[in-house]
Amino acid sequence: MTHTVHFRVWRGDAEGGGLADFDVEVNEGEVVLDAIHRLQATQAPDLAVRWNCKAGKCGSCSAEINGRPRLLCMTRMSVLDLTAPVTITPLRAFPVLRDLVTDVSFNYAKAREVPAFVPPPGLAPGEYRMRQEDVNRSQEFRKCIECFLCQDVCHVVRDHEENKAAFSGPRFLMRVAELDMHPLDAAAETGLDRKSTAQEEHGLGYCNITKCCTEVCPENIKITDNALIPMKERVADRRYDPLVWLGSKIRRRGA
């Protein structure tokens, strides 16, 4: 079962560009990336698109299909309304390099700003003991394939370039949460309070829990409910708990 689908694909570069029209043959069972590949092989050999595993596991082929952030390899043609043209555009929150490829270096810069896991002193490799119940939550966040769809959809930065300096985005706030919930992370012993860095250095306060990030996550990670909201609660506990407040004052004075 082959039929022709009308595509409108954004083509251009940092200087500018626009939607280009293509009619592409599509076979039963195919995903959008198949159509893009056919377009490359038959009509536009230099059409730029990122992809890699084509199995929803690497998070390379992120783009916007009819305005919605999605993985090209996991979006079947059959879920789209084919009576209208299918519009494919690059991720809106990041600068275009060429065609569907954007400059995602923002994410790699933010990743560097999250202090790494701190191994517990006194435990040699092989001596780590953790209960499954205690690693479940961080394991959920480690399912992240870094497709950056959550970073793209989040309206704190989607149309607000000026917020990017102060806001790390859902993916890296979730990374802070993951480390904070790691049963053996020894950051606190070194004087690093991950909760306060979430608020002060990664812009947790900008998040107004609209759950857009959770909705677009191809791994179905409950980013808002399980990472962002609990972090907000932990920050609040820390800030408004009088004992904690007193403790921090005393320790600071002693130092």
């Binding site: 490359q40 730029a48 890699n52 595993c53 199995a55 990743a111 490799p125 092989g126 480690r142």
Partner: protein, 674 residues
Amino acid sequence: MTQPEQQAWDVVVVGAGGAGLRAAIEARERGARTAVICKSLFGKAHTVMAEGGIAASMGNVNEGDNWQVHFRDTMRGGKFLNDWRMAELHAREAPDRVWELETWGALFDRTADGRISQRNFGGHEYPRLAHVGDRTGLELIRTLQQKIVALQQEDFREHGDHEARLKVFQECTVTRVLMDGEGDAEGAGGEAGEAGGGRVSGVFGYERESGRFFVLRAPAVVLATGGIGKSFKVTSNSWEYTGDGHALALLAGARLTNMEFVQFHPTGMVWPPSVKGILVTESVRGDGGVLRNSEGKRFMFDYVPDVFKEKYARTETEGDRWYEDPDHNRRPPELLPRDEVARAINAEVKAGRGSPHGGVFLDVSTRIPAETIRRRLPSMYHQFKELADVDITAEPMEVGPTCHYVMGGVWVEPDTAQARGVSGLYAAGEVAGGMHGSNRLGGNSLSDLLVFGRRAGLHAAEYALGAAASAPPAVRETAVDAAVAEALRPFGAAEGGAGEGPGAENPYTLHQELQQTMNDLVGIIRRGGEMAEALERLDGLRARARRVGVEGHRQFNPGWHLALDLRNMLLVGECVARAALEREESRGGHTREDHPGMDRAWRRINLLCSLAAEKDGPAAAASASATASTSASAASPGRIELTRSTAPPVRSDLLALFEKDELGKYLSDEELSL
């Protein structure tokens, strides 16, 4: 011609999968300024697709496990063709490599007493695979990626620059390893047998994004580029698997070993076309899934080879009882080794008893309650539901063999991972050969990456900071010019290039024809005549590839990228075909219909591929039959020359780990009497 920008590093690692990242971490921690180059974004490597786990004899679940048992299983899996020293190092060091991942933040699934959980897998005597659900590869990559970032944070604190001592060049492709003196590339490999002898002086490559060329000067280069699956039509491999490191090594004068051994996983998806080849995990069968043909018959009962007759159930009822009571029943034949199951599926389809889309049926829906399927096989449930509209709790899956892994690769020194005969060149992971012999066990890939990635990084750093530091190798301008010209040829901009215009070949078309050729003629079941035909077709494709032309410019141009990758895929395809034609026996991932038996005389023979001298154009290249040790049956002249090498005898204390009877199946009488 403008000279590309040059930078100097101590160690350059090509590839950022498990092996590349582990090598980079080690080299940097040993004090070497280290650059990593990868074709995709940092953290997207093919390693993320590994599901099952990392094999390491930690003995967390069964205390009977130890490195000797792991070694034994690995040698059996590889039908004793393995480089035994690599298999030994791998088995000994794998536990330490897993444990250190925890100190970098990895979170494996746990046992009840809080240690790393380990699961059963084909060919492993005890539960041995450390895992994270069915996404172990992702955990491995993310952990190594985050360790790299941790080291960069350290450098930032010390030097004010994250990339002072460790830098990732993402979305860049290396097209040449550069050599000091006359040691490199075309011509030098023509000395039959004793290839190489040169010294590495750096790499040449281009940024995919801008198309800009660059040179990284370095005395040591680690190849960690993975496999070759994209030379085949149906594969579980990602686009990056174009055999780059295999080809770069050949062009630098190194040799490849065991290239005839390619693993076909029995169960890949066959429909829809978009996902053909994507892996369906072995756990489906482990949990009770059965294989049926179009007549509804569980055909695997007809395919139990004699050597396994006593270990597998004869009837469906006995096989079914095994899941509940494995001590008193034999396992069902669906759980035979991968090569056996893949061949059986192939035979059923050929006999006209396949499923509508050319596979067979894999069914769990009539065997396990829907709720249990969703709990135990969540990603399979998700994968079929989303991509194939198939609810595996209600209907069977369609599956067929898919090209999964190449056992062959760069012929290395087992302890140092150095490519034999080429100073400064190292290889680790799938691009290196020898470790897995003729067939790799599941779970032994991820541990291989870590063990030999670390060793390659260590020895590359020692060499770069030691021997090479006193007499740094030089990058020759002529070599850089030649690399630029080669890379520009598809645009017709380089001298002698055909480029665009009438007669220009489309790279996508050539790639599809190459994949079809390898799939049909050098695939899972091989015949002499077909492979000779494959070599002829490859010859024709190689000639056409010289005329490949691309449109547009160099900025993120996938047509151009593919045009350059074709050289590698053609070289590697020829290695596979030529070695497979030469080896007249069947063993592991090499099945000859015309030579169905395993022959003990072949066990110690490794077929080595090296680059043959190129005369005036591809068709006139020196015939491989020129040297005495190569096969007279070589069908066509090509670029690859085959030689035979006899493996050293297995060390006696390692041989003593096996029963004499078992050794008799693999070793010749002469070897046994030693």
